[in-house]
């Protein structure tokens, strides 16, 4: 699982993340919503060990990232807005490479082809060079990497941005499958609809603070949008969220 305890990051005078307390349980999909600069990507970078926290801790499956950076990274998979792969290598070769670097040794081609097949890339696609892939196919390779490395947690940063609705939907299904295997998923996104569809909980961030957290079961699409916009304009409070949750139920 993923856990942040009073996680804080300051860049000079700017407070990018302010005492974030967050737990994403195994099998749970937690979506972080927020405008640009709200602190979503900073949160993910802190979990990935790309940034040092100013205060607090980020842990993955019980390992504090700052204390065990490599071990922690080996328990997590990361899918950014653009899954960047090696254009001159095939999908299969990319998967083999990333899996081996994650400390899983060299897996057999048949194992890896099976994983790629699970995410919707058949053998002919898997053996083609990634330079010919669509964005959706590259995102699927990203998911395959998470499966192949047997990640305990998955961090996603705007993964469905730019995907067509079909690819986006397929991606959501794959995420659901991963959560079903017990993977803790933290996804930063602008896509309220996708967050509501795929997430178990959503958190709204504003100016580095997690200003609201709610279960997606308890809120309708338009209410989530309304609440989000009110938070963005600064005229909502967590208490008003509770009212909405009651109303929705």
């Amino acid at each position: 699982m993923l856990e942040a305890r009073t996680l804080t990051k300051r860049f000079d005078q700017t407070l990018a993340l302010d005492e974030l307390d967050l737990t994403v349980e195994a099998g749970e999909i937690f979506c972080l919503l927020g405008a640009n600069g709200a602190g979503k990507t900073t949160t993910i970078n802190l979990f990935l060990g790309f940034l040092e926290p100013t205060a607090g801790t980020a842990s993955i499956d019980g390992l504090v990232v700052g204390d065990n950076p490599l071990e922690a990274k080996r328990k997590v998979a990361y899918i950014p807005e653009q899954v960047n792969l090696y254009r001159n290598l095939s999908g299969l070769e990319n998967l083999a490479y990333f899996t081996a670097l994650a400390g899983h040794g060299e897996r057999s081609d048949s194992d890896l082809l099976e994983v790629l097949d699970k995410v919707g890339l058949d053998r002919s696609a898997a053996e083609r060079r990634v330079g010919t892939y669509s964005k959706g196919m590259r995102q699927k390779v990203g998911i395959a990497i998470a499966i192949a490395k047997d990640a305990k947690a998955l961090l996603l940063d705007e993964p469905t941005s730019g995907l067509d609705p079909k690819a986006s939907n397929e991606f959501s299904v794959l995420l659901g499958d991963l959560a079903g295997r017990g993977v803790a998923v933290l996804m930063a996104t602008h896509d309220l609809f996708r967050a509501k569809e795929v997430g178990h909980r959503v958190g709204i961030m504003r100016s580095g603070r997690l200003v609201d957290t709610l279960s997606t079961d308890t809120i309708a699409h338009q209410d989530l949008e309304s609440l989000y916009l009110r938070h963005m304009h600064g005229d909502a409070s967590p208490s008003s969220t509770s009212d909405l949750e009651v109303a929705a139920s």
């Binding site: 790309f50 998979a77 960047n84 792969l85 090696y86 001159n88 670097l101 490395k149």
Partner: protein, 477 residues
């Protein structure tokens, strides 16, 4: 993990059409340089062998002549062209390969192909040494500039680090993979060079040349690795591939073109070499008026005459049991030797002072260190030339003394009317030259070798330092 990264780097590089083109062009250039170098060396060796044989015949068959006249007729000494000159012609085209040995004069070297070339031809001289010293570093830079910077720009570096890859393994794997790619160019060239050597110089060289060849290969490998380490360091430091390639090309231009040029100019400015006219005018002046308190030629001649008369206990030259003219010639010869030792000694001191400037400059340009070692190992460097020049001069003195002694002992009362014949010419000491062995070369080249090793160690440490920081810098955004 290092092997995994190396395999991936090699696969990706081999699939890159730009690499295939560059590598193909380089292999062709190297092979062409080796073939033309081999042809040129064989042509020179054949020409020298023919000239040596003809010169020997001419010397022995010159007919009856006064020995001192024969000393002016003179002989030629030919510098053997070492087999490895086909890899690096070094300074031979500029310093010359033959010298005319005659009485009184230490002549400058001839057979300098560089004199017959235009300035443009000199710049474009294609030798394996030129390709290895200038183009291989450029190839390494083009191969490695994107190793980290390109991945950072493409986002794959972030992806890799997020996957749990160790920066040290990435650096080691990339270095290994790129070295393997580089070896795809160098190994065929080395094999071809070895085959050409075996075919071309079946009877020449032996173990010493093989060892030199192996060391030469090691030196160029170390040189390539130093550039690879620097390229990886810059690539790890630069935020974009464009910045990396710009910095590295500036480095290449500075270290391979600017610093060597500046070092040469600085050396010449700080320790100017006299022009040939100045140099020989100084020798002529010293010959007439003497060095220091030695007195002019008439005074020196009078002193010698008195010394000889005292030695034989006689009062006049006519009473001497030997030919005084010959003794006087030899005395003049020995004094001119002293003058040459003085002036050539100063000239070599100037060359060595210039060499020291180059040595210091090699701290800023590995090319200077490699060029020096390469020439020395190939036997075409300054030290090799100096060794031959000293041997030729020593022989000139022995040769002239032999002829003067013959006139002294056999020309009593005849002086310049005395004629020697074929028997005397045939018995003249032959010029037998043995180039310096590998141990001497390593001793004289130890400074340049040390500098090259420092470059390799220094660049590896810098590279290591930048590469291990890749985990943090430039991947967060």
């Amino acid at each position: 993990m290092i092997t995994t990264v190396a395999k991936k780097e090699l696969t990706e590089t081999l699939r890159d059409g730009r690499f295939r083109w560059m590598a193909g062009v380089l292999v062709v250039l190297l092979l062409a340089a080796l073939l033309t170098g081999m042809a040129s060396v064989r042509e020179t060796r054949n020409a020298v062998a023919a000239a040596e044989a003809a010169e020997g015949e001419t010397w022995v068959g010159q007919g009856e002549r006064n020995p001192h006249s024969a000393a002016h007729f003179g002989r030629f000494a030919f510098k053997p062209t070492p087999p490895l000159a086909y890899v690096d012609r070094g300074l031979d085209p500029y310093l010359g390969g033959t010298v005319w040995l005659e009485a009184h004069w230490q002549n400058p070297f001839g057979l300098r192909p560089a004199e017959d070339r235009t300035a443009l031809q000199r710049f474009g001289d294609l030798s394996a040494g030129f390709v290895l010293q200038l183009l291989i570093p450029l190839f390494v830079i083009l191969l490695a500039f994107g190793a980290f910077a390109g991945e950072r720009e493409n986002g794959t570096l972030r992806q890799l680090l997020a996957a749990g890859a160790r920066p040290s393994a990435l650096a080691g794997g990339k270095a290994l993979g790129l070295t393997a790619a580089l070896s795809l160019v160098l190994v065929p060239a080395a094999v071809c060079a070895a085959v050409l050597y075996t075919v071309g110089f079946a009877q020449g060289g032996g173990g010493d040349q093989v060892l030199r060849g192996a060391l030469l290969a090691g030196v160029y490998l170390a040189y390539g690795l130093a550039f690879l380490a620097i390229s990886l360091a810059v690539s790890a430091w630069a935020k974009t591939a464009r910045t990396a390639i710009t910095v590295l090309l500036c480095f290449w231009v500075t270290t391979t073109l600017l610093v060597p040029r500046m070092a040469t100019d600085l050396a010449e400015r700080l320790h100017p070499t006299p022009t040939p006219a100045e140099f020989y005018a100084g020798i002529a002046e010293a010959t007439s008026n003497g060095l220091g308190d030695d007195g002019n030629s008439a005074e020196r001649s009078a002193r010698l005459q008195q010394q000889v008369l005292d030695e034989y206990g006689v009062d006049t030259v006519e009473e001497l049991p030997v030919d005084f003219a010959a003794i006087s010639l030899q005395g003049s010869e020995e004094y001119s030797n002293k003058i040459y030792d003085h002036f050539f000694g100063e000239l070599w001191t100037t060359y060595m002072a210039q060499e020291r400037i180059h040595r210091f400059a090699s701290l800023a340009s590995p090319l200077l260190a490699v060029r020096s070692i390469s020439m020395d190992l190939a036997g075409t460097g300054l030290e090799g030339h100096r060794h031959f020049a000293n041997a030729a001069e020593t022989h000139r003195r022995e040769f002239v003394k032999y002829l003067n002694d013959d006139m002294r002992d056999n020309g009593v009362g005849q002086s310049f009317s005395y004629m020697a014949d074929r028997e005397v010419w045939a018995a003249a000491p032959p010029f037998e030259y043995e180039p310096p062995g590998i141990d001497t070369v390593l001793e004289t080249g130890s400074n340049a070798l040390t500098v090259l090793i420092l470059w390799v160690i220094g660049s590896t440490l810098v590279s290591w330092n930048f590469c291990r920081r890749v985990a943090g810098a430039g991947v967060a955004s």
